[in-house]
C-alpha cells in the first residue's frame, strides 16, 4: 500500500471552534492517508471528531468561528489552504461526499433528476441538459434505483430513506470522484437497507479506482469493507492499522471497548451487552495526558503524560496506537471472558 502514491494525505489536522463556552478542539492533530482503491474507515463514537474531520476535508467546516490547521494534500493540492474557488472545483468533482441523513440531505423543492444534473453541469458546462439527464439515469440504475428514467421526475419526499441515500450516492458518483467520503451513510437506515448501501460502496470500489473514506461509529459496518481503520477518540486518532490488525490485535483499550460492544451471534446471550463505562470527555476540557484515561480501567500513573501516536509493535510501522501499556500487558489485559473487550471496573450483575 505504501508503495502507491497516496490519494489523500492528512497531516496533523487540527480543527477548533470558538463557542460561547470556550474553544472546542474537535480535531486535535489527526494524520492518515488514503490510497487509490482503498477503503479507509474512521471509527469512533459521537463527538470523537470523525465527522468534523470528514467535513473539513470537503471545506465544509470553514467559518468565522473555525480555526483549521495542518495539511491535507489531495491530488497535489492542500485542501486546508486552498481558496474557496479552488475547493468548489474539487468538491463534487474529484472529491464527493455522502451524508448521514438522507431524509434531509436533498432539497425538497427540486426533482431528483434536477439535483443530479445540477452537479454534473456545475462541473462541466459543455454537457447539455439532455446528456446530463441521460447520465443521471445511468447513475441511478447503477446504484440500483428501479425505473430510473421515470424516477428522475420524482421529488425527494416521494422516495424512501434508502432510495434517497442511493440518490445521494448517485449524485456523489456523478463526476467520477477519485475520493468518496461517506459520513455515516447507513446510520439513519434500516439494517437491510444498510447492507444494500454497503454493497453499493463495495461495488463502487471494485469498479473504480476511487478511494473511500467511510466514517462510522459502528465497527460491524466496516468489518467486511474496510482495508484500514482509524480509531478516533476525543478529537485524536488513538489507533490505526489494517482491518485485521484492529480486529484481531487491537492495541488501545478504547478499541477493545468498541470491539467488546459489538453484538455477536457467537456470544453467550445471557451476558449483558458490554458498554464502555462513562461518557466521552467534553471537547472544551479534555483530560490531561491520554484522553481516554478517565474511562480506562487500565489507566496508571504514566497516563497523565500525553502518549504519541506511534508504532509500538516491533517490526510493524503501520500499526500505531496511543497507549502507554506494554505490548504484552495489552495482549493480556484485552482478553475478557475469552473475547477481546474492555474489562468492567466491577463485575456486572445482569
Amino acid at each position: 500500500m505504501s508503495a502507491v502514491e497516496p490519494l489523500l494525505e492528512v497531516e496533523d489536522l487540527r480543527v477548533s471552534f470558538a463557542t460561547e463556552d470556550g474553544i472546542v478542539r474537535a480535531v486535535d492533530g489527526v494524520s492518515f492517508s488514503v490510497a487509490p482503491g482503498e477503503v479507509l474507515a474512521i471509527v469512533g463514537e459521537s463527538g470523537s471528531g470523525k465527522s468534523v474531520t470528514a467535513m473539513t476535508l470537503m471545506g465544509l467546516t470553514r467559518g468565522p468561528n473555525a480555526r483549521i490547521e495542518g495539511r491535507a494534500t489531495f491530488a497535489g493540492k492542500d485542501l486546508i489552504s486552498a481558496s474557496e474557488r479552488d475547493l468548489q472545483h474539487i468538491r463534487g468533482a474529484s472529491m464527493a461526499m455522502v451524508f448521514q441523513d438522507p431524509m434531509s440531505s436533498l432539497n425538497p423543492v427540486y426533482r431528483i433528476g434536477h439535483q443530479i444534473v445540477e452537479q454534473i453541469r456545475v462541473h462541466d458546462r459543455n454537457v447539455s441538459r439532455a446528456q446530463a439527464m441521460a447520465r443521471a439515469v445511468e447513475l441511478m440504475e447503477r446504484v440500483g434505483i428501479p425505473r430510473a428514467a421515470e424516477r428522475l421526475r420524482s421529488y425527494p419526499h416521494e422516495f424512501s430513506g434508502g432510495m434517497r441515500q442511493r440518490v445521494m450516492i448517485a449524485m456523489a458518483l456523478s463526476c467520477s470522484p477519485k475520493l468518496l467520503i461517506a459520513d455515516e451513510p447507513t446510520t439513519a437506515l434500516d439494517v437491510t437497507i444498510q447492507a444494500q448501501i454497503l454493497e453499493e460502496l463495495r461495488t463502487l470500489r471494485e469498479q473504480t479506482d476511487a478511494g473511500i473514506i467511510l466514517v462510522t461509529h459502528d465497527l460491524a459496518v466496516v468489518a467486511d469493507i474496510a482495508d484500514r481503520i482509524v480509531v478516533m477518540y476525543s478529537g485524536r486518532v488513538v489507533e490505526q492499522g489494517t482491518l485485521d490488525e484492529i480486529f484481531y490485535d487491537p492495541m488501545h483499550p478504547y478499541s477493545w471497548g468498541l470491539l467488546g460492544s459489538i453484538t455477536r451471534v457467537d456470544r453467550d446471550r445471557s451476558q449483558r451487552l458490554a458498554a464502555i463505562p462513562g461518557m466521552p470527555p467534553s471537547l472544551l476540557h479534555t483530560p490531561r495526558g491520554c484522553h481516554f484515561r478517565p474511562r480506562c480501567v487500565h489507566a496508571f500513573g504514566k497516563c497523565t503524560e500525553d502518549p504519541q501516536l506511534s508504532a509500538r509493535i516491533p517490526g510493524n510501522a503501520e500499526h500505531r496506537d496511543r497507549c502507554w501499556l506494554e505490548l504484552e500487558q495489552k495482549r493480556t489485559l484485552r482478553m475478557v471472558g475469552g473475547q477481546i473487550g474492555l474489562a468492567s471496573p466491577e463485575p456486572v450483575i445482569s
Binding site: 470537503m58 474557496e84 468538491r91 432539497n107 425538497p108 423543492v109 456545475v122
Partner: protein
Amino acid sequence: MARFLVRRLIAMVALLFVISLVTFLLFIVALPNGSPAAEIAGRLATPAEVHLITVRYGFDKPIWVQYVKTMANIFGGSAYSYQSGFNVDQQIVAGLPATVSLALGAGFIWLLTSILVGTLAAIRAGRYTDRVLTVLSMIGVSMPPFFLGGVLIYYAGYKLGIIPLGGYVPWSQGVGDWLWHLVAPWFTLSILFIGIYSRVLRSTILDTINDDFVRTAKAKGLSGRQVLIRHVLRNSLIPIFSLWGLDLAQVIGGGAILTESVYSLHGVGYLAYQSVGHLDTITLLAIVMLTALAVVVLSALTEIVYAILDPRVRLQ
C-alpha cells in the same frame, strides 16, 4: 385542482356569510347609532316622516329580513348610504383604481426590497451591516404612515415641492402624473412591510442555511452565490410569498386606511376612513365584505402558488 377550487368556493361562500352576519349584527344592530330612520330623515324631520322612512326602508321588519335585504342590496348594487345617499357599490368601485394602484405598486416594492434587505442581513448576520439593517427595520416597523406621510408631505411636498400634496390621478390621465402621485404613498406603505418582511426573511434564511440540503449543495461544488440563490433563497422565500398574498389582499380590500387618508388618495381605505367618521354603517359593511372577499380569493391563490413552490404540499 378542480376539487380544490370547488371546495375553496364553498368555503368562501360560507366564510363570507359568517363575516357578513357578524358585521351586520355588529354594525347595524349593536352599534348604538340611534335609529337609522331618524338619521336618514335628518334633524328637522317630524315623527310622521321618520315613521314613513322606517316603513319604507323596512326597519320595522324582523332582523333577518333586514339582513337578507341589506345583503341583497349590497351584492345587487342597490345599497345606498344612509348618510350621504350615494350608491355604496359605485363609491367602492370608484375607489378601487386608486387602491389597487397603491396595493400593487407598494406590494412589489416591499416584496423586492425586503428580499434584498433580508438576504443581505442574513448573509452578514451578526456583523455591522446586519446591525444597521436591524435598526432600520425596527424604525420602519415603528413608523406609522400618518407620521411618515405627514413628514413627507410637509418637507418633500410643501417645502421642496418634489411630490404632490396628495390626491390620486388615474392612469388614463397620464402615466407620469399617476406615478408622481403614487411614489410617496408607495414608499410610506412599503416601509412598514419592508421592516416586517426583511426580519422574517432574515430568520428563515438563517434557519435554511443550516439545513442538510444546503450542505449537500455546497458539497456538490456550487458557488456560494448558487447555493444562496438556488437552494437557500428558493426555499426561504416560500413563507414570504404566502405572507405577501394575504397582506396584499388586506390593502386591496381597503386596509391601507392610514396611508390612503394621509395622502387623500380617494380609494377604498379612504372611503372606509370617511365612513367610520360618519358611522356610515352600510358603506362600512360593504367595504368589510370587499376585504373579506379579497382575503379569501387571494389566500386561495396563495395556496395554489404555495403548492407549486413546495411540491410536498398538496391542494385539498
